[in-house]
Amino acid sequence: MKNKFAIFKNGITTENPIFCLMLGMCSSLAITTTLTNAIGMGVAVTCVLLMSNTIISLLRKIIPDEIRIPVYIVIIATLVKCVQLIMNAFTPALYESLGVFIPLIVVNCIILGRAEAFASKNGVVDSIFDALGMGCGYTLALLIISFCRQLIGSGMIELVNPFDSTQIIFSFDVLSQYAISLFSQPAGAFLTLGTIIGVIHTIGNVRKKRAEQKKAEVK
């Protein structure tokens, strides 16, 4: 069990798809204007990732090596289209707000990346844990980015139930008079993402240095 949990934790901390692997950035920049969108997108990507990792891991022994990428893409595209149809039918409000970014999940590098790097080389259970970890890491990253952007860009923190747009879970008006609307726009997305990545990597570097110093002292 420890090994599985390590795989799961990997996707959230050491190999977080957005902050460390730097995959799937386009959707993360575009979708993170509100917390609601972030959660909706995170859940959708996690579902697709889970299914695609499972299927590709099950088929990994019989997919010929030369055409593996087209096969992965066919599988992922089919899954995304099914998710899109199901979302349109059962969660119309979320479908409307995510709009064009649902079909864009097909080209979200995280899914193809994990299929190639992990699911094609590991067993089904491991792949499932990897998918869950990566999906949670992705959702967490989206939440962090959209929290910053929504707070600074519109002055409010608001969470609406993604599956029932009339249910407002919480809504705090913090500093709407001082909102910098730049952060609701693409330029602000880049600024936010860059700053957060800088902060995270600095913390990581400081920790590494301290660990090395400790090792040197012990010697």
């Binding site: 087209p70 096969v71 066919v74 099914c82 149809l85 349109n88 039918a89």
Partner: protein, 174 residues
């Protein structure tokens, strides 16, 4: 040659299976999606006119390039009480669809935005707020509707659509 054939067959099989799965899910969800769209139209119509009226789609002559996508006549006690215009305009981000109700006596019944998900929240999305929709409370259609400051593109497109509906109403039903 044999190798390429094998690869091609494998790819074809995978694609065939995908096609089957897609058509299965489509069969499952298509009726639900259609129901939803009908329900959404009914709901928007009821928001404007309340329960108790019947709505009928009208087959009208529409000009080539028009924002009007459909027209419904509102029938109350056997007589036509007004018309609801469903319009689609190009907003700031994506298409904005809305309904505007015009009574036969030349006053607005109301304005209901249906889909404005492409508009910036806090800016273009204000067309759903009372600051914009209150202009349609029983005011005369000759008065005209104002755009929103700070949301020029979205509200301008919507106002243009409303004006097209008014024009059509004046030409056909006044």
């Amino acid at each position: 040659m044999g190798k390429i054939l094998k690869l091609a067959v494998f790819l074809a099989v995978i694609s065939g299976l995908s096609g089957l799965m897609l058509s299965y899910v489509n069969d499952l969800t298509a009726p639900i999606i259609e129901q939803q769209q009908i329900a959404a139209v009914q709901e928007s119509l009821s928001v404007l006119y309340g329960e108790g009226e019947t709505f009928e789609p009208v087959d009208a002559e529409l000009p080539e390039e028009t924002a009007i996508t459909s027209i419904y006549s509102v029938n109350k006690d056997g007589a036509v009480a007004g018309y609801v215009y469903q319009c689609a305009v190009q907003g700031y981000g994506d298409e904005v669809t809305f309904m505007v109700g015009i009574n036969t006596d030349g006053t607005y019944q109301g304005f209901v935005p249906i889909n404005y998900s492409g508009e910036t929240s806090g800016f273009g999305s204000r067309i759903a707020d009372s600051e914009f929709t209150s202009q349609f409370d029983a005011s005369s259609i000759d008065d005209g509707v104002d755009t929103l400051s700070g949301a020029t593109i979205t509200s301008g497109a919507v106002v243009d659509g409303v004006n097209e509906a008014v024009e059509h109403f004046n030409a056909n039903y006044r």
